[in-house]
Symmetry: C2
Subunit: 323 residues, 2 copies
């Protein structure tokens, strides 16, 4: 987190406060729960989602205490999904540290995720938040689960296509980005139209963000990301670059290799070369551009304020991180 | 469900309605989710928890529609925990059918459970339920998770003792029984004292119920229960009968066998004989009696109504089911 928000001391300070709220909420819990979850909170990742709650709230009547708690809810929700994702993906690393499932076992990780999920509702039901927020949060979790289930269903199959991919990442990623903007602006009483626009901006940023993340599997490196590249492919997730490449795979070379459900190191290399050759990476980058342009254009039309400037800069950094 | 509530046509009818609410809530979801979860809903088990919501609500101003939805929430919550429990325990069977984790894989089961969890909050946030309910629900999930995590922590260790066991089952079982009584009576505006008494009754029934369930591992049979007996022991869960037996294991014979973390069929037989010989079963039965007597006495003091009679009869059936 420190690096990403270094240029924004106010946001940085507020995010530190959000972290302290999360830690405060874990205080009463079992010592193993606390010990297992706190490193992820400390390390924090980029904390984009809670930052978006704070930034969008500033388009209305900003109440620091209430908004920071909502930001904490969103981050806890995100952490819960990460903990459960790592079980499925058998991931050893998370945010550069050993993942909970790897360190404490899958059994523990199931309940640790459940625990964090319900802590979200715990926080939301403690203060007098609008029931609207609760509805939005539970709807978003529903969408995330459906996205993840669909993604899992299409593992190791070429039945996945552009439409299905879009629906999967809408659920598993863009929904929570969108929620972050909606929760923040709703709670600070922005008018309906503005809330909707901000929600849309979140959706488009989320879509661009996920496609970039999927692209990194084909161009990223392990040092920078704190997670192994080529991970998706090895786990049988055929993401956008492959989907696009398959569209141009007239001779069926790529298709044939994908028919083996377990890839040898040699297969992986071949797939990589083919995906690039068949314009899978190029076309994916174009789609990133489409979503981010939409987000940019909508942000530009927002009322002038500090948040607007920060959003524009942050989006630029995210989109142009090396991929 | 059909057998258990056969003698109570009104409750039976209301529980069928609760089932239909749950199914209605699953309608919008992914086809795999629906297909995987509905068999458990159909089969229904005894549906004790939703029945307790209905029965306790009748001590106040009963609103069929609202109470039935709360009953559905409690049953969905229970189903979610069962789905996640089956992942941990690697259970093949659930309610006499193949478990979700066995049929659809653990990956799917993680998200199916998550999905059901958030459906609970979805329902609660749709109607104008008291925020109090939400607080109670999320607090209860927290307690369930903590109970499960503690139980897992003490797997295959003799560090478990009576106190720790009581705390584990308070969380993983009694909390949800207690919640059922509290939600029902609270929503139908019973006074605070009555809500508290009913919550306590739920707690005591839950404790008795869980100890009986643990006893069944030592006396039950697979046909009747729809699940394998001796399961707990083989999975490394040392439940009450073992804990009591260890207290009288002066020569350390039982203790010695337990030191092997994987039991052969022969070890299991030896443990069973020792647990009975060392009064583990007998003493557990006495503790069941203590909790159920507490519940009986409190029910007897409740205001006279049909629910009171049903509660007394149901408790009697539960306690005296063959074990």
């Amino acid at each position: 987190m420190s690096e990403f928000w270094q240029g924004y001391p106010k946001v940085y300070k507020e995010l530190s406060y959000v972290k302290s709220i999360i830690k405060e909420n874990l205080k009463g819990s079992d010592v193993y729960l606390k010990d297992s979850i706190i490193p992820s909170v400390e390390q924090g990742g980029k904390m984009l989602r809670p930052a978006f709650v704070l930034l969008s709230a500033k388009f209305g009547e900003y109440n620091c205490e209430k908004i920071s708690k909502l930001a904490a809810v969103v981050e806890m929700l995100h952490l819960a999904t990460l903990i459960h994702d790592d079980i499925i993906d058998n991931s050893k690393l998370r945010r550069g540290c050993e993942s909970i499932q790897s360190k404490y076992g899958k059994d523990f990780a199931v309940y640790a995720g459940d625990y964090l999920f319900c802590q979200c509702f715990n926080v939301l039901s403690k203060d007098d938040y609008a029931v609207e927020n609760l509805k939005d949060v539970s709807k978003t979790i529903t969408r995330i689960c459906m996205g993840e289930i669909k993604q899992n269903y299409f593992r190791y199959t070429k039945k996945i296509n552009l439409n299905k991919y879009i629906r999967i990442i809408s659920g598993k990623t863009a929904a929570l980005f969108s929620l972050s903007f909606i929760l923040g602006s709703n709670e600070s009483k922005c008018d309906r139209k503005l809330v909707k626009t901000l929600g849309r901006i979140g959706y488009n940023i989320g879509m661009a963000f996920q496609i970039i993340d999927d692209l990194l599997d084909y161009v990223g490196d392990v040092e920078k990301m704190g997670k192994g590249t080529q991970n998706d492919l090895k786990q049988g997730y055929y993401t956008l670059p492959i989907i696009f490449a398959l569209q141009e795979d007239k001779e069926g070379t790529l298709s044939k290799i994908l028919d083996n459900s377990t890839f040898k190191e040699d297969d992986v290399k071949k797939i990589f070369k083919l995906v690039i050759k068949l314009n899978g990476v190029e076309k994916s980058k174009k789609l990133v551009e489409r979503y981010s342009t939409r987000a940019f254009n909508s942000i530009k039309k927002l009322p002038d304020c500090e948040s607007k400037i920060i959003l524009l800069e942050v989006l630029e950094t995210l989109i142009y991180r090396k991929y």
